[in-house]
Symmetry: C2
Subunit: 138 residues, 2 copies
């Protein structure tokens, strides 16, 4: 198996009041605060068509996660039996890419306000994809 790697280049960064992993809700619906995606100004053209009110999937690089972890207790609860990380949403995993389904609440230049983003302040943003229903989630 090829061992080559690929470089992800952040297109922006999260601005959020969440600064501590222990403080982050385990799932977005448990009350993540509003946050901003501060995109690089070079990404303005890539935003064409994004609209307030739309639901999108934000991909992040969970830069404070551990990449050497293969099994975890789900949601950090030690009473739960160990699971392979591919069967959990743990941020700790070989490639700590976060998927966040959020709604756009404002767009100001290359800054995008989103509701319910479960990501720590300064988390790198990798991508934004539209959510158009089940078909489009593939």
């Amino acid at each position: 198996m090829a061992e080559r790697t690929y470089a992800v280049r952040p297109v922006g960064v999260v601005s959020s009041p969440l600064t501590d992993r222990d403080q982050a809700p385990r799932q977005g619906d448990e009350g993540a605060p509003p946050a901003w995606l501060i995109l690089n100004r070079r990404m303005k053209a890539a935003m064409g068509g994004l609209q307030v009110g739309a639901e999108v999937i934000v991909l992040t690089w969970l830069d404070r996660a551990r990449r050497d972890v293969l099994v975890v207790h789900p949601r950090g609860e030690e009473s739960r039996p160990l699971q392979g990380v591919f069967n959990t949403r743990s941020p700790d995993r070989p490639n700590p890419i976060g998927l966040h389904r959020v709604r756009i609440t404002a767009i100001e230049g290359t800054r995008i306000a989103v509701a319910n983003l479960e990501a720590l302040d300064r988390t790198p943003v990798l991508d934004i994809k539209p959510l158009l229903g089940d078909v489009d989630e593939r």
Copy 2:
């Protein structure tokens, strides 16, 4: 804005009869053939809990995509107006990470058979995440 990059390290590779981008269906439900995720044997523990029949989200690195493209004609149809790539599912985008919602049809060691994977043969696999419903897609 920090310009640092991060290295993704594939955990496996796609084995699929799809070898040509023009041949790939634009969406999984348009008839992608069965495929295998051939994971690195070191990833065995990370698979703990994955089961046949489960729906999962597979993350891939779309290694034949262009990273310098910021606007595209959706679905490659020139009659459609140009859109920012963040408002499309185009593989061409700054960080060409593919999201694929698939169902596990077989598990043999560290090989996972999946239905309806829209990804070319030899595409690197980055991650597998469970799909447990709307809440868990965040």
